[in-house]
């Protein structure tokens, strides 16, 4: 049995969303995707704020929406679904406390109960004593927490959260994430959480759905998706390099990059398209003997397994050190700040990259 089962098609000029979403009762599904992929639109359809152009939305055994015909459209308040939108949209004329109570009252709580619960929720999101403030008198992160409390407090059949933890600092985000996790688990809510942070997806959801340009490009258990990203985007989310190539004679190859493909060698036949997935920190980096790209190419030995020449395109400072981005193929390399200083890298320079095939995972392309 599925709690939520939807096939959603929305047509807009220059954009088409066509996605299937399913969630078992009590299951939390994370939705990730690049900016503009259609995450908010998807949630908007489920909440009844965006009209369906084709498909259906089912919750439990109720048909909430169908289109194009017979056209059914259940009004948002009758869906038993609560949406926390990407813009929190706290009611500016109500205090933080009244904002939280609003959701509770809308779900039928009496005045007293709503007031008492709202107090509790304020405390839970760390805003004890700020209940009487208007949203305009709260900081961005405080507003975000009130909005989250307002949505969570309603404990609906299904909860839709659109980037619930943005504008929170690491520490507060951690606390709120734990609160959210506990609440979702305790109420056994079916929930869909759109997020940009793999940390949220892993911590909150059991399944991950990757949406790109309106289509689902990958779906599965969160850790599995992150470990075997099917697209560049998912690899970036997981913080991994992903290079597409093919397997020939037990070796994985992409242009002049060749790796000994251990288990990928069991692929049915030569020429299978396979992506190599590896962590940026697993890649070794060295200056080449020559100072210029053409010089480096001239000096380059013929293809060596696990080693290749690359050109630096960008250096990015990261908390752990420096991330070096190279082409072709596009590979990111992490190294410590000391090592980066020692190498004296700069965009445009040629470098020699090394990768132990054991550090790579080979994923056949779907």
């Amino acid at each position: 049995m599925t709690a939520l089962d939807a096939h959603i098609v929305v047509e807009r000029s220059g954009f088409r969303l066509d996605a299937t979403v399913q969630a078992a009762p009590g299951e939390v599904v994370a939705v990730m995707g690049p900016s503009g992929a259609g995450k908010s639109t998807l949630l908007g359809v489920l909440a009844g704020l965006v009209a369906l152009d084709a498909g259906h939305v089912r919750l439990g055994d109720r048909e909430l929406d169908t289109a194009p015909r017979p056209r059914v459209r259940t009004t948002p308040s009758r869906r038993g679904i609560v949406l926390l939108g990407q813009e929190p949209r706290l009611f500016p004329h109500l205090s933080a406390h009244e904002n939280i109570a609003f959701g509770l009252r809308a779900h039928g709580a009496t005045k007293q109960v709503a007031a008492a619960e709202a107090d509790q929720w304020l405390w839970r999101v760390g805003l004890d004593g700020m209940g009487s403030r208007r949203p305009a008198q709260l900081s961005g992160g405080q507003q975000q927490r009130v909005a989250l409390a307002r949505a969570l407090a309603t404990s609906p059949d299904a909860l839709l959260l659109d980037e619930p933890l943005t504008s929170l600092d690491a520490e507060t985000a951690g606390d709120v994430r734990a609160l959210l996790h506990d609440q979702l688990t305790a109420t056994r809510s079916t929930a869909i959480v759109a997020t940009h942070d793999a940390v949220d997806a892993v911590a909150l959801a059991s399944r991950l759905l990757v949406l790109e340009e309106g289509r689902v490009t990958q779906t599965g258990r969160v850790r599995e998706v992150l470990a075997e990203p099917a697209t560049r985007f998912t690899a970036a989310v997981a913080g991994l390099n992903r290079v597409e190539g093919e397997v020939r004679g037990g070796r994985w190859q992409r242009d002049h990059v060749v790796l000994a493909a251990g288990d990928a060698a069991s692929a049915p036949s030569d020429g299978t398209a396979v992506a190599a997935v590896f962590r940026p920190s697993a890649v070794g980096i060295d200056r080449t003997e020559a100072d210029t790209w053409t010089g480096a190419l001239r000096l380059a030995p013929s293809v060596v397994e696990g080693e290749w020449l690359a050109r630096v395109t960008r250096l990015e400072q990261t908390p752990g050190g420096v991330r070096v981005r190279t082409v072709d193929p596009e590979v990111a390399v992490d190294l410590t700040a000391d090592r980066a200083a020692e190498l004296g890298l700069a965009p445009g320079l040629p470098v020699r990259l090394r990768l132990d095939a054991g550090d790579a995972r080979f994923v056949p392309l779907g």
């Binding site: 909440a47 009844g48 704020l49 009004t75 948002p76 308040s77 869906r79 038993g80 679904i81 609560v82 949406l83 926390l84 939108g85 813009e87 929190p88 949209r89 009611f91 500016p92 004329h93 109500l94 609003f102 959701g103 009252r105 809308a106 779900h107 208007r134 305009a136 307002r150 949505a151 309603t154 609906p156 839709l160």
Partner: protein
């Protein structure tokens, strides 16, 4: 003046002066000797009472009919909204007297509707009900247009948020839509009540000028003005009475401002 250019204080002051100076000139001409007598005469008080009763009733009717109408227009597509707005604007342009004639033509005994009503024993014109009807007719557009402006400015974002939280339509209306449009609603109610209380032309024709039944303050002022010669003393006195009372009522309306945004 917030982020507005500061020189704008000059036209603002001129505007304010234009509105206030004539009233000052009026007050300066008040005959203080007869003022008390003028404003406490039984006719004056009965007219005032009638004005307040009918004015408030008409305002209530306007709210009941006008708020839905404003919502309808504000949430219609651009084209429909334009047509509806034009229809609502029409009675505004009409000199009120013509409005009164029009209502007489609609409800009078020579009309079809008037005939039907007469058969049921209902006579609309020349009753206190007619006063309320006339005031509603002239005041309704003000409420609708002022509120519609605010509703459109607010947009539907917060309504969506409320719907996303599972709030029903009535809850959204009462707790989100109207409070957020409160500045416009209050402006509308003020305009509406002021227009209803000051209404003269349509009432004079459609309801008549029967003291105690349909003679509201403006009609009493008109009668005093026309009848008692040109001393205008009592007309001015009555005007002041109307003014002070209306402002009093309006300040009460202002005081009621449940949840003002920002």
């Amino acid at each position: 003046m917030g982020f507005a250019p500061r020189v704008l204080a000059i036209p603002a002051a001129i505007g304010l002066a234009l509105l206030i100076l004539p009233l000052t000139a009026l007050v300066l001409r008040v005959q203080w000797s007869t003022l008390w007598q003028d404003i406490t005469s039984p006719e004056a008080l009965s007219a005032l009472g009638l004005s307040l009763t009918t004015g408030l009733t008409a305002t209530a009717v306007c709210v009941v009919l006008g708020v839905p109408l404003a919502l309808l227009i504000a949430r219609s597509r651009a084209r429909t909204a334009a047509v509806l707005r034009a229809l609502v604007t029409v009675p505004l342009v009409l000199p009120p007297m013509v409005g009164g004639v029009a209502m007489l033509f609609l409800f009078g005994r020579t009309s079809w509707l008037g005939g039907v009503l007469a058969e049921w024993g209902i006579r609309v014109p020349f009753t206190t009900g007619a006063v309320v009807l006339a005031q509603t007719f002239v005041a309704l557009p003000f409420l609708v247009l002022a509120l519609e402006g605010s509703l459109r400015t607010t947009g539907v974002g917060y309504e969506q948020a409320a719907a996303g939280l599972g709030a029903g339509r009535w809850t959204i209306l009462g707790r989100v839509t109207l409070p957020l449009a409160a500045p416009g609603l209050i402006a509308g109610i003020v305009l509406c009540f002021a227009r209803a209380v000051g209404e003269f032309g349509a009432t004079a024709l459609f309801a008549g000028n029967a003291p105690g039944v349909t003679q509201t303050m403006p009609l009493a002022i008109y009668t005093a003005f026309n009848g008692a010669g040109v001393s205008q003393g009592s007309a001015v006195a009555l005007s002041l009475l109307l003014l002070v009372t209306a402002i009093g009522v309006l300040l009460l309306v202002r005081a009621w401002r449940p949840e003002a945004p920002r």
